[in-house]
């Protein structure tokens, strides 16, 4: 039996930006994908060739990388993602958007679409670009070209358009914010440096250090069984099992019994969302009060500790931050807080993270992030078994020092063939992502910091404004990522901004007709991974870094083109205008074929010439890079700093851990929310989201929105095989698949809610519907709903209603704090009530009945948004 015709190795990481992860072998037969499965390294390499590593923990327990790729679930279902019913089949135009007449911006998100040809689409787009250039100038075109997406380099899903626009006068770009790192970026960096994102970048050898020396690891808001899946793989899971085998206590601290907790944890502290700072302060209080912190280390390794003591002990505000003070705030009894503090003081304890969640992306997230650094310092961070470790992004931005595991001798990159802007580049004119609402409405505004995830600490003190003097407001939005409303801040306000009169043209390139795409004026169909050839890497598996020769093995689906081809087609249409437009495509592509670009990528990826073999690389489809020689002797983590801080300083001004940040004090003397010393912040800067707040009378729950278990942000919401998994969707009485809303049985009982009920989750910003899942996996007074469900808008905008359960539609637009532009997408107040979905359907008959092709098994269908299918 013929089980395949061809195989290609691709990375199916979803980080984009030219990075990559999750290499797999994909088989095709008769021009269609048949299977996607792990790569078996042992078919191409011996362990010696890879300089195979083994780590040893307590009791001689061994940990090793294995000889196959440790594929997570998302690549397994990529066949369905590729052939999704929701693929954009051809170029489409919003029926009542007429560039020559009425543009009807108020109907974005409401009106339907008609099929147009690529030629017509490119002609209209080129005409609009020319018109906007003439009327407003090039900086009035805002490129929304970031976020997560398929990891491709030549055909990068984000930012090909910037290559074209930079040839014809320039553009404004949305600055990719440090999402998932908010607190660390805006807070922890001011305490211990660790550029660029504020998490520990001195991680070498720390996995083994923990395995040998730690007694416990605090998994603080850490879900390695979820967040790793988009861009890492499952070595993280194996590492957690290894530590268990070494006898290391796994202590989970989070409001939810997340997917890691319910498999790996020995103990769980259910802390209320975004109250970690109170817990941390109480722990510090116990240590100070009982003199159980490392006084000598604090003297030699830190600066400004006395300011912190002054605050914790209540000298500043008359309130000592005792466990009894913290108990009603964080929901953990004082006796348990004291026990945790004393355990931590008596034992070698480390902290583990996996990004995201309420801990780090709630209001004032810079405070818990800084407080964590303070606590680590108080117990001698860098001493054996006392470190902060990550289960994800093991060579973030190519930094091998971020990895707790032995790294390959080269961290390859795709820069030579990458056709988008790297994070932090192309920032001549930019707007912070979290303030895009203002830009779309044509407002003038100012802020501090470029705020991309690639900027150093000092960047946060630079002042900017938009539009720059002499420039005009944004008039066109060119997006290749339709996931803002489901993944970022203030989704409903974003919908309103998209519908503002100011925005004259909204262009979208995307493979799938999701979320923001349904507000666009023109939508272009884009190829997915296996439809295009490319050069890729996999640097985050923790096994070996890899480069991939990713050949196309299926034809484009429908009329899709790659982003790189689509932009060239638009460029070709622009050339008719002559002048700067003439020859723009040639200038952009330099006439290179895809094959030539793959070769460029490989030749310049960082692998030494003598170790490159183009023909073998092409034949195998990938090349692994052996572990670096001498990895056994790598310096462990922050040991040099712990041993000799004067000669191994951190990136802070004093080179030490700063309890008091002089730069924050000097640059923002009036900032009472992110002051020089981390504090408990009750409310401010647009946030009033405590259970003690008056608002809690109307909205009595704190919501947890993690990185989704069965999606990567907005992606994969259309995959049948995922949607039928028990925790993925809840089928309502109307047959619609609702996004689950977890609620504790005690709270559910008070509200008369049962599993399977349709509920409304709401606040002043609007409401989304969900399917109740009454569960012990969430503590009382908190509810849980993953972000990223595909929106199904019933009433658009602020105060609106969404059936899809896109919870970020009702999260705040206000950022982490006034001078910290992080998104606040978890840990805010909501109300929950049971609804009669049939009553709602009567109230909104058109919206509830428009989904003729909708199928609960895969969700929404692009055909429901086309006029000719009516």
């Amino acid at each position: 039996m013929r089980i395949k015709d061809d195989t290609a190795v691709h990375n199916l990481g979803l980080e984009s930006f030219g990075g990559g992860a999750n290499i797999v072998a994909a088989d095709a037969k008769d021009g269609k994908l048949v299977r996607i499965h792990p790569v078996h390294f042992d078919q191409d390499y011996t362990k010696d060739e890879l300089n195979y590593w083994k780590l040893t923990g307590k009791n001689g327990t061994v940990f090793e990388p294995g000889m196959k790729s440790l594929t997570p679930p998302f690549p397994m279902v990529y066949k369905r993602r590729t052939y999704s019913k929701n693929r954009i089949p051809f170029p489409m135009k919003r029926v009542d958007w007429d560039p020559e007449g009425e543009r009807n911006p108020q109907n974005r998100g409401i009106s339907k679409y008609e099929r147009i040809s690529w030629d017509e689409a490119c002609r209209i787009i080129a005409g609009e670009i020319k018109r906007i250039h003439d009327e407003y100038g090039p900086y009035s075109i805002l490129c929304q070209a970031d976020g997560h997406g398929e990891s491709k380099a030549i055909n990068t899903p984000h930012g090909c358009m910037t290559r074209l626009l930079s040839e014809v006068g320039g553009f404004t770009i949305q600055a990719r914010n440090p999402d998932s790192w908010e607190g660390w970026y805006w807070g922890a960096k001011h305490a211990w440096g660790m550029d660029p994102v504020g998490q520990n970048t001195h991680s070498t050898g720390t996995a083994q250090d923990i395995a040998q020396n730690s007694d416990a690891v605090l998994f603080w808001g850490c879900d390695l069984e979820t967040t790793t899946w988009g861009w890492g793989g499952q070595l993280a899971s194996r590492m957690a099992y290894w530590w268990h085998d070494c006898g290391i206590k796994h202590i989970a601290i989070s409001p939810d019994a997340n997917y890691t907790n319910v498999v790996h944890a020995d103990k769980w502290f259910p802390v209320l969302p975004n109250t970690d700072a109170a817990l941390q302060l109480a722990i510090a209080y116990v240590w100070i009060n009982e003199k159980t912190y490392d006084e000598e280390y604090i003297k030699t390794h830190s600066d400004g500790f006395e300011w912190f003591v002054y605050y914790v002990m209540g000298n500043e505000d008359g309130v000592a931050k005792t466990p009894e003070w913290a108990e009603p705030i964080c929901g953990i009894p004082a006796y348990k807080i004291k026990a945790l503090a004393r355990y931590w003081a008596r034992h070698a304890v480390s902290i583990a993270h996996c990004n995201g969640g309420s801990y780090i992306r709630a209001a004032f997230a810079h405070e818990p992030a800084r407080l964590e650094v303070y606590l680590l310092a108080m117990q001698g961070v860098g001493k054996p078994g006392r470190i902060s470790i990550k289960f994800i992004e093991w060579v973030l931005f190519g930094m091998s020092s971020c990895s707790p595991l032995p790294t390959s001798k080269v961290i390859p990159n795709t820069a030579a063939c990458y056709n988008g802007p790297l994070i932090g580049q192309g920032m001549e004119s930019f707007v912070p992502k979290t303030k895009i609402h203002k830009a779309l409405r044509g407002e003038s505004f100012d802020w501090y910091g470029r705020g991309t995830s690639a900027n150093p600490r000092e960047d946060q003190f630079e002042h900017f404004e938009f539009p720059a003097p002499g420039n005009k407001p944004v008039k066109m939005l060119w997006s290749d990522n339709p996931a803002f409303m489901t993944s970022l801040n203030g989704g409903n306000e974003f919908q309103d901004a998209l519908r503002s009169e100011n925005l004259e043209f909204y262009l979208m390139e995307a493979p799938w007709f999701e979320d923001d795409a349904r507000f666009a004026d023109i939508v272009l169909p884009i190829c997915t991974k296996f439809e295009v050839s490319d050069f890729g890497t996999d640097n985050d598996s923790g096994q070996w870094s890899a480069v991939t020769y990713e050949k196309a093995i299926i034809p484009p689906v429908g009329e899709a083109k790659s982003d790189w081809e689509a932009v060239q087609a638009i460029g070709a249409a622009l050339e008719q205008y002559g002048g700067i437009y003439e020859g723009c495509v040639q200038r952009m592509t330099k006439g290179k074929t895809v094959e030539q670009q793959v070769r460029d990528g490989y030749d310049n990826c960082g692998i030494a010439e003598e170790e490159r073999d183009w023909e073998t690389f092409k034949k195998r489809g990938y090349q692994l890079i052996p572990t670096h020689e001498g990895w056994e002797d790598d310096v462990v983590g922050l040991t040099p700093f712990a041993d000799d801080p004067d000669h191994n300083p951190l990136e802070t001004p004093t080179g030490k851990i700063e309890f008091y940040s002089v730069p924050l004090a000097n640059n923002f003397p009036d900032d009472g929310i992110r002051g020089p010393v981390a504090h408990w912040i009750e409310k401010g800067d647009g946030h009033d989201d405590r259970l003690s707040s008056d608002r809690a009378k109307q909205y009595p729950f704190l919501i947890v929105s993690n990185h989704p278990r069965w999606r990567v942000h907005a992606e994969f919401d259309d995959v049948e095989w995922l949607r039928e998994i028990e925790t993925c969707k809840v089928i309502g009485p109307d047959g619609y698949a609702y996004e689950p809303l977890w609620i504790n049985p005690v709270d559910a009982d008070k509200l008369g809610i049962h599993s399977g009920d349709v509920v409304k989750v709401f606040n002043e910003r609007g409401a989304v519907l969900g399917g109740a899942r009454v569960t012990e996996r969430i503590c009382e007074h908190a509810v849980y709903m993953d972000h990223g469900a595909n929106a199904d808008v019933i009433v658009p905008g602020v105060g609106g209603l969404d059936r899809g359960g896109a919870i970020n539609l009702i999260c705040p637009t206000a950022t982490t704090s006034k001078n910290a532009d992080g998104e606040v997408t978890s840990g805010y107040l909501v109300g929950v009530e049971k609804v009669d979905v049939f009553e709602l359907a009567k109230r909104y008959p058109e919206q509830f009945n428009r989904n003729k092709f909708y199928d609960a098994s895969y969700g929404q269908d692009v055909r429901d948004y086309l006029v000719e299918e009516e």
Binding site: R35, Q234, L235, P270, Y335, L340, Y343
Partner: protein
């Protein structure tokens, strides 16, 4: 004879096994070994999950379920004309070209692992990925996809030592070739604290006494004031907590229906 060994202590619940099975069989036609599986609703490899305990001790039991390729397979005896045992793997295979209309086979499997494909008018089940094994593969897709080592596949002889301590689940008989290791038992957990001092009590003695009056486990509260016993049977126990300076407290842990997590036990000094 090939077998499948499932180590539940290493199953992280990622569903890779179930998903890889679908990737192999949905949208693909391997007739006569297997016709295409419908996009949803059939689970030739089926992950089951059960939430256990309550705040703050909550676990999820993940238990993947597979066809046992049983020695005494009822399908084989009921329909020898369209069901056969694959020689290489021992997998029971329904010939998709000969079994049209044989809805009776759906009920023949006591484990309910035969599904009816309405569109094709066919009974369908796990094939042990026989089409791949014939092509030189050494593992079925579910096992290949397992990233943690929870699933292992091979000749039964290779696993003899482990099989000795393994059990069958899902009401499969002794003739099943799917073996489970480390099946979790019931747990009982709690925290003991001194109410007046607002401190946990460390080192309190905790005894578990069965209905026959025998002490079946004795432990102490740890540095968090916690006690936990993971080896309980589906039975009822008396739990006696004794701390110096406090009157002993006796609780009832009825583990017959579920795991038991007590409310925090706040006790007063004598």
């Amino acid at each position: 004879m090939k077998c499948l060994v499932v180590d539940l202590s290493r199953c992280n619940g990622c569903y890779n096994c179930q998903l890889a099975c679908k990737d192999e069989h949905c949208d693909n036609d391997w007739s006569p070994i297997a016709a295409p599986q419908p996009e949803t609703g059939q689970f030739w490899c089926k992950m089951n999950e059960t939430e256990r305990g309550r705040v703050p001790v909550v676990r999820v039991d993940y238990r993947p379920e597979f066809c046992g390729q049983c020695d005494d397979c009822k399908l084989l005896s009921q329909a020898p004309e369209c069901v056969y045992r694959d020689e290489m793997t021992g997998a029971i295979i329904i010939d998709s070209e000969k079994a049209k209309g044989r809805s009776d086979l759906v009920d023949a499997c006591p484990s309910h692992l035969v599904y009816w494909n309405d569109e094709l008018g066919l009974p369908q089940k796990c094939t042990g990925c026989a089409h791949l094994m014939q092509d030189g593969w050494t593992q079925p897709r579910c096992v290949e996809a397992c990233a943690t080592g929870a699933l292992r596949y091979g000749d039964e002889d290779e696993f003899a030592d482990e099989i000795a301590s393994a059990v069958h689940l899902f009401d499969q008989g002794e003739d099943s070739h799917v073996f489970y290791l480390n099946v979790p038992k019931r747990f009982v957990a709690g925290t003991v604290a001194n109410r007046a001092e607002n401190e946990v009590i460390i080192g309190a003695k905790v005894e578990f006494i069965n209905e026959q009056g025998e002490t079946v486990n004795c432990t102490e509260t740890d540095e968090f004031g916690d006690f936990r016993w993971d080896e309980a049977d589906e039975a009822s126990y008396q739990v006696v907590v004794t701390a110096e300076g406090f009157d002993p407290v006796t609780l009832v842990a009825d583990c017959r229906g579920k795991d038991v997590v007590f409310d925090d036990l706040l006790i007063d000094q004598q």
